[in-house]
């Protein structure tokens, strides 16, 4: 309980300080005009993104550039991690060979539950991502939910189980590149018809076959979904390479 003493002092200070500060603070009940503008205009209004989800329309339409570069921050982080753990072709093949202390994974109960849940995850994450323009959620949220599936498989079975089914690091990277190029493409398309970069309305149709798709938002969400899911998979596949294998590579390189 000794570790609690600083904490109690801190809490008492907080309450005391709050008692002094309180009368000086205004109460925040009004919206800022800019926030009100977004709320009023995101679906109705003259400056509309045709999406009822205001946060997503800010993320991908009003302030789309931020999100484009946010995605590239994530992209660069993954490339940086790959650079730190880089393997050449021979080593990559070797890393796929099963390690000496290979175990079959956790118990049967966990495995079967995981199998059921993985199937559910695919449906849930797709619905989070593809309804991103109507309900909370969107590309990143859906993609990170999608990434639970490979992560669960890595832990409950092993990383070799993923690789045997064809989802290795190179594949994940390819999916990721496709997703990112898709995002870039959707951002660049408006230039062809004389618009601005990342423009949504009126270049993309707001409705497709009677369904509200909010112009470019659904494409962005879909490609981001792909990119984020594949990106997390690549990161964790890289992390799951056993330490012994990696140390062997490093020792061999040092000897050469």
């Amino acid at each position: 309980m000794k570790r609690l003493v600083p904490l109690i002092i801190l809490l008492i200070t907080i309450f005391g300080l709050a008692y002094y500060i309180t009368p000086k603070l205004p109460q925040q009940t009004e919206l800022r005009p800019l926030g009100e503008f977004y709320l009023k205009n995101s679906y109705f209004g003259d400056y509309s993104a045709k999406s009822p989800e205001v946060v997503t329309s800010i993320l991908w339409d009003y302030r789309g550039l931020d999100t484009l570069f946010e995605t590239s921050v994530f992209f660069i982080a993954i490339i940086g991690s790959l650079t730190l753990f880089r393997l050449n072709k021979k080593q990559e093949e070797e890393a796929k060979q099963k390690a000496e202390e290979f175990r079959i994974g956790l118990t049967l109960i966990i495995k079967s539950v995981t199998r059921v849940i993985v199937v559910m995850i695919l449906a849930v994450s797709a619905s989070i991502a593809l309804h991103g323009h109507l309900t909370p959620g969107g590309g990143f949220q859906g993609g990170s939910a999608l990434a639970v599936a490979p992560l669960l498989i890595i832990a409950a079975y092993s990383k070799y189980a993923l690789e045997e089914h064809g989802l290795d690091k190179t594949r994940a990277l390819i999916f990721r590149s496709i997703g990112l190029l898709g995002i870039a493409l959707v951002a660049l398309v408006p230039l062809l018809s004389g618009g601005f970069l990342m423009q949504n309305q009126p270049i993309f149709p707001a409705k497709l076959g009677g369904q509200l798709v909010s112009g470019s938002l659904i494409y962005y969400n879909f490609f981001e979904f792909l990119a984020v899911g594949a990106g997390f998979t690549a990161v964790f596949l890289l992390l799951a390479i056993p330490e012994k294998v990696f140390k062997k590579f490093l020792r061999r390189e040092a000897n050469e």
Partner: protein, 116 residues
């Protein structure tokens, strides 16, 4: 019909709250990890799955809610996921604890020990 669903949901939520509280108390009071697992089951199945299904029924029965089918669907899905994941999660923890022997206890007999 909708009232029955509503009250069914309300009862389930209440039961869930009580189970959750008892589960939490059990988790706090029980002496070691393996006994706490019992309380954890009460806390997760009784305290999370039952109220989640209850929310689903309540939403189906309530006429004052917007998008009631969305709420009901999402809470049923969450309920099923928790129903699957909670026991498997506790099982994984118990398995790990038993394998690594990090929990100090003196069992009368340990069947798992005998099997291995």
């Amino acid at each position: 019909m909708s009232e029955i669903l509503f009250y069914l949901g309300a009862v389930m939520i209440t039961i869930g709250g009580i189970c959750d509280l008892f589960g939490a108390l059990g988790l706090l009071k029980f002496p070691n990890f393996y006994i706490r697992l019992h309380a954890a089951t009460v806390g997760t199945i009784g305290g999370a799955v039952v109220p989640l299904f209850g929310v689903g029924f309540l939403a189906l029965g309530a006429d004052f809610l917007p998008h009631k089918y969305a709420i009901a669907g999402a809470s049923f899905v969450t309920g099923i996921i928790v129903l699957l994941a909670a026991p498997a999660g506790s099982h994984a923890l118990a398995y790990a604890a038993h394998k690594t022997k990090i929990v100090k206890w003196e069992p009368k007999c340990d069947h798992l020990e005998v099997e291995e």
